[in-house]
Symmetry: C2
Subunit: 349 residues, 2 copies
């Protein structure tokens, strides 16, 4: 069991702290303090209103140590990419205090000679969650697991696929199913405590990495695999397709953010939901058939009436169960989709 | 200008020598000798009947040096992956003779301390053609090049996409167009003398690498980009999709091997050609529309009558120009598709 201090100097209340926010909201490992001089003295919920948490925000690593963390989570990306000097000193202090370092950064802290030496000296370790596994080609073994596999697929990046997977896992467990969230991105991996950063795998081995995750979690009854990107995303669709084939899903859940109309950063218009469903199902149908069981609609930023209208419209245009699993909780959508999650589909032969 | 000696001990007449065969058939840089003790004393055409070449096959590197090569091409993969001792000694002898080493192996020879030291000592270099470029995210710039981009897409791996791209490039040049073959795999890169091994890029950067190739070759009039994999290939489709979006094609050429009915090594049935065309065009239509302009049908292994029947059937089922560019030469198919290669398409905005 980890107890996290989260390092987020000057950034805890911003979108770049999404790994920090995800860990606080969803990790089974508790966060005991957050380090951000710009928010020091507040509780988490005062700095980030959508996080219902009493955890204190402090100014420095030294103060954070009073809450007896086991691990320092570097959950925010520094502007410009390079590690600022005060972050370096906080990480070194943490290592000298015997804390494990958990990092979602692109640059691997374990490859930094000073950090590596400090970790060795203090008998602790650095977990770079973005480290890809050894190359492995898709084998087809994933088609044969008994666990039922549900993959979230999206209209775009950053629409709520991880959150939908986490919420549906909760609902399935509440309904008595041995369900497990399977993480494929750095925030998800921090939350789950394990996983593979699919977007860091070599493209020849992307499907194989997705399959490996399913094999490693085959002992559960129902897997909710965190999706990535979107099938029409000009840059990241290869990651999406590796998950679509490699995780051998039996069913898909489509995730869409109502306010998003174009691919973020590229401006390509998003496809209408029925068209998106057709594209995902068409691709699956060539390898291992899987249908979209329902829609997790992210109505963030809409008022209650507009949110309900959007949900009703998506239901009408697709004929599928649809709900916002954050606004309305995941139980209803899970119950409506559960029949579609009850059977395995077979790969084409 | 390189003059290649090709190292293929015991393997020159086998399918694992496909990089060697490709270089002899298509590279602008001549091959002056092949090293394979099992075929020594023959001419290339006697060892590999479909290669119309007089180049001598010799038993050892020492003999090969008599033909004054500038470069030693390691174009075959050793069984088991590790470099056999006699290959090592041939590579070291070549380095000591001042030859450049060109290698398509998965393991990078330049990272071998003994080889690296020998290269430095002799003032020569090791070119590992599979080395991926620095990570680069797709930017959309590729949509704006003036060059028209034609991507070969396939029903599967190893059906003739590289060959079709090379033959169509020849035909376009013969017709007076400034056309260029753009290489994306190790054999193509050896043939072209440059390129990016798309299957070795990190999946987040696969589209970006494909785009980089188009930007680097934007000075030509017409680019034939070598396709990889197949959109329904369980393991390698992410590579295919990175090329489909990243290279910003204006038109596609579908390549299919008539004798192939199932995905190689996986057994998934291949889609009928009209369905495959629909899938590729559907995906392009969500980002930057591109149509399949014609079909390069690989009739290898069929007699002349069966080949013609297969070509006629593909024409009838798709309504598109179709021919075997090896059996019948590329001029007819190129001429039939040329109108479809004359215009740029625009990305969706």
């Amino acid at each position: 069991m980890r107890r996290y201090a989260i390092l987020a100097p000057g950034l805890f209340a911003t979108r770049s702290a999404k790994t920090a926010h995800g860990a606080i909201a969803y990790s089974a490992d508790p966060t005991v303090s957050v380090i951000d001089f710009s928010q020091a003295g507040k509780r988490v919920r005062e700095a980030v209103p959508y996080l219902d948490s009493d955890v204190p925000v402090v100014a420095s690593l030294e103060e954070a140590l009073a809450y007896e963390p086991t691990s320092l989570l570097v959950g925010v990306a520094p502007a410009g990419g390079a590690l600022p000097p005060d972050w370096r000193s906080a990480i070194l202090l943490a290592l000298d205090a015997g804390l494990e370092i958990v990092s979602g950064l692109h640059e691997f802290l374990g490859e930094d000679a000073e950090f590596a030496a400090a970790a060795a000296r203090n008998g602790t370790r650095i977990w770079d969650v973005r480290t890809p596994p050894p190359p492995r080609i898709f084998s087809g073994e994933g088609n044969a697991v008994a666990a039922r596999v549900v993959l979230t697929v999206g209209s775009d990046c950053a629409v709520g696929k991880m959150t939908a997977s986490l919420e549906l896992t909760k609902a399935a467990r509440a309904a008595g199913t041995n369900a497990r969230f399977v993480a494929t991105g750095q925030t998800g991996i921090v939350i789950a405590g394990s996983g593979i950063p699919i977007d860091r795998t070599i493209s020849d081995f992307t499907s194989g990495a997705a399959e490996q995750l399913v094999l490693e979690n085959r002992d559960a009854e129902l897997l909710f695999v965190e999706g990535q990107g979107g099938i029409s995303h000009p840059a990241f669709a290869p990651v999406t397709l590796g998950l679509l084939y490699g995780s051998c899903p039996d069913a898909l859940v489509l995730v869409h953010l109502v306010k998003r109309t174009h691919v973020e950063d590229y401006g390509t218009p998003l496809q209408p939901l029925p068209r998106l469903i057709e594209i995902y199902e068409t691709l699956c149908a060539t390898v291992k058939p899987a249908r979209v069981a329902g829609i997790a609609l992210n109505t963030h930023g809409l008022d209650a009436a507009a949110a309900q209208r959007a949900i009703d419209e998506a239901r009408a245009s697709t004929g599928l169960p649809c709900d916002d699993v954050v606004r309305n909780g995941p139980a209803h959508l899970y119950a409506a989709m559960a029949p579609a999650f009850s059977a395995k589909t077979a790969a084409l032969k």
